[in-house]
């Protein structure tokens, strides 16, 4: 989940950066060159965001009780290396 948030932020940054850095060169492009440029396909990007792999874990009731965890992050900690952070 964290990976997909970071990748989304990177996608956004990339699309904005791309539109600014080539503005001057764009105005001098020929029609043939313009026709070779791939426009960002919004639907494709949106799909890849939602299709981004999300880790899922199944923790049984007994495991939760045995671990003594009192919150969801605590319950997930043993499953995920590096700990869990909820930044939403």
């Amino acid at each position: 989940m964290k990976v997909s948030m970071i990748s989304a932020a990177l996608l956004l940054a990339n699309s904005f950066a791309h539109s600014q850095q080539t503005e001057e060169e764009l105005f001098d492009l020929s029609l043939e060159e313009l026709m070779n440029i791939e426009i960002v396909s919004a639907s494709k990007k949106a799909e890849s965001l939602f299709d981004a792999p999300v880790s899922s874990y199944i923790i049984s009731k007994e495991e939760i009780l045995n671990s003594g965890a009192t919150s969801v992050p605590d319950a997930l900690k043993p499953m995920i290396l590096g700990g869990v952070s909820f930044s939403l």
Partner: protein, 171 residues
């Protein structure tokens, strides 16, 4: 609850990316329109020194056209002007007229309003090249293409270069 938050954030990000993508498309389309002066010949008595691009109705491309014209002025490009029209009764001298999506279904009235003038009508809506537009933008495999209705252009007195014909999807 958390799933809902993820979904909402994903939606917002998706909306932002969609807007960015659309802005890119209209920017490229504005450069196409500017370049048409190299490939299309207007009658000598119609050229009044400035290359006038009109926009009828609200269209994102207007901002891109104005930015490009301002930029071109700085670099001593063709003397170009962008005019905005809110109704077809306001229409005046234009080399190119971009018709917004909303006005596309009134294209026949628009043609009537500018009858006898060699104004290149450009649109960005499916099927418009068969309904009165001389040039209609389309997207093919993620790239900008344009449909050209050569007889529409030539019937109003425009000369279309072979180079443009070769690049176009002919209707």
């Amino acid at each position: 609850m958390r799933r809902m938050k993820i979904a909402v954030i994903g939606l917002i990000i998706g909306l932002i990316i969609t807007n960015a993508a659309y802005a890119q498309k209209t920017k490229y389309q504005s450069i196409f329109i500017y370049n048409f002066y190299k490939y299309i010949k207007w009658p000598d008595d119609f050229n009044k020194g400035k290359f006038v691009i009109g926009v009828l109705g609200e269209a994102e491309i207007q901002g891109d056209l104005e930015s490009m014209v301002a930029s071109k002025k700085q670099s001593n490009g063709l003397d170009t002007e962008v005019k905005k029209f809110s109704s077809f009764s306001e229409l005046s001298h234009c080399n190119v007229l971009f018709i917004s999506s909303k006005f596309c279904n009134q294209i026949q009235e628009i043609q009537q309003a500018i009858v006898g003038t060699p104004t290149l009508i450009v649109t960005d809506k499916t099927g418009m090249a068969k309904k009165g537009a001389a040039i209609n933008f389309v997207e093919v495999d993620g790239k900008i293409r344009f449909e050209l209705n050569q007889s529409t252009a030539e019937n109003i007195g425009l000369g279309v270069s072979g180079s443009l014909v070769n690049l176009a999807i002919l209707i």
